[in-house]
Amino acid sequence: MKKIILAFGVIGGAVIVFLAYAYLKTGDGAVNSQYAHTVEGRFFTARIAPENPDFLRNTLHAWIASISTKDGAPVKNATMTISGGMPAHGHGLPTAPQVTENFGDGRYRIDGVQFNMAGKWELKLTVTAGDASETVTFNLSF
């Protein structure tokens, strides 16, 4: 009899764990990371934040990139190219974003960004200043 109770207990427990897992798995909402991101590169530290955090999916919008050297000095004369895409789906960005403004204090406006579906995106900045050039990759999720 004890064995039966024990078996019910163990299997019942397993069922409860399974049900709880199933609920938690389906209960989580979409991850939203429309806030600032910082990436430490080899030469530069790059930080990006959406100009308007309430931008809509599939709408052109701008990000502000702040570039500094590893010791924290703003990089005021960087040139940048932008690429990216969705690695899991094997496609790039649906637009060709560009730097449209250098604020002169290490901040730059990157305009023409658009994410045409929900999911995990990469935004890559290839930053060149003086002799140093590198690509920093931001992993974003919408």
Binding site: K3, I4, L6, A7, F8, V10, I11, G12, A14, V15, F18, L19, A22, T26, G27, D28, G29, A30, L56, R57, N58, L60, H89, G90, H91, G92, L93, P94, T95, A96, P97, Q98, D111, G112, Q114, N116, M117, A118, G119
Partner: protein, 398 residues
Amino acid sequence: MRAVVSGAVVAGILIGVFLFWNAGRLSERELSIARGLSLASLPPVPPDAGNAVADNPQAAAFGKELFHDTGLSANNRISCATCHIEDRQFQDDRALGQGIGTTERRTMPLNGVAHATWFFWDGRKDSLWAQAMAPIENPAEHGFSRSEVAAYIAQNYRAKYTALFGSLPDLTGIPPAGPLGDAIQQTAWERMPKEKRQDINRVFTNAAKSIAAFERTLLPVENRFDRYIDALLNGRKPDGRSALNRQELSGFRVFTGQGRCIECHNGPLLSDGFFHNTGVPERAGVPADRGRVSVIDTIQSDPFGCLGLYSDAATNECAKLKFMLRDKFVLTGAFKSPGLRGVADRPPYMHAGQIDTLEQVIEHYNNAPFTFTGKSEIQPVKLSFKQRAALLAFLKTL
């Protein structure tokens, strides 16, 4: 041992009941995804800075008349409504559009068209009004010339036109002329003074802006899926007209999961509005069609584009032209993702009606065949027979 077996049986039954119960309803996360595909997430019609009369009801009423007027064609028998048939979702059920001649592509439906960013299958026009001009001058469609359009407006719609756009230019003695017409019309167009050509372009443009104002009023139609999501979002039990059965819900999960349909068919119109090469076969008898790549070098200099003389937009309102993707590798063989509202009711499918049935479309994406041009983005999604049947059932709710 017997105890373990009986315990396992009970647990198995409990899990089975749970899974069955769960499959018949959407989780919170699924409901959030579903909401994104329903009319509940449809934004207002976006403004069209290039069209000063875009939201003018008087222009829309004028445009509606023009949309249905067969006088705007070379044979007096073709109007926009010939191919965009109102009670057929504003399309024509044909593989290739049929005007005066036969076009090289499938007629696109118009409900919700004002939400698009790019127009035509290859997105060669950046506004609805610029789109509306092209078929009128296409020899295979209306086969009209733009000087004839201007003359026809002056003769038949003078009061309505001038109320909206001011006086009409003097068009007496103007021959049929246009840059896209036959050799005689092209020569007549070239010989015309520049100012006269601009006058004619202006009238043609204003007529098209009115047609666009009408088309902006064509909204997406509520479907059973919308009613189902609306009921769930408002805490109502979906009734007969809005219920989705287990197979349809299972098809929703295929659509948003393993089938990967949602990658391109997302948002409330079930299109990302972008261009993709999905390895769709060529249509026999139609010239090779490489889609988006063929137009990306000319869009920015289109005289009827956002940056052109006839657009009402300021340069800084033409961001989509400025930041458009021009990657020729990615855009070879790429066509706009069509919206999927009402899709089950309008075969044949793809940009030249190459695929006859929705079952075959699902087969296409299931197998992801070799592409004839460029590089196909799709991979075989390997759906079971049951999953494909469920996906088809779901598509029929849209």
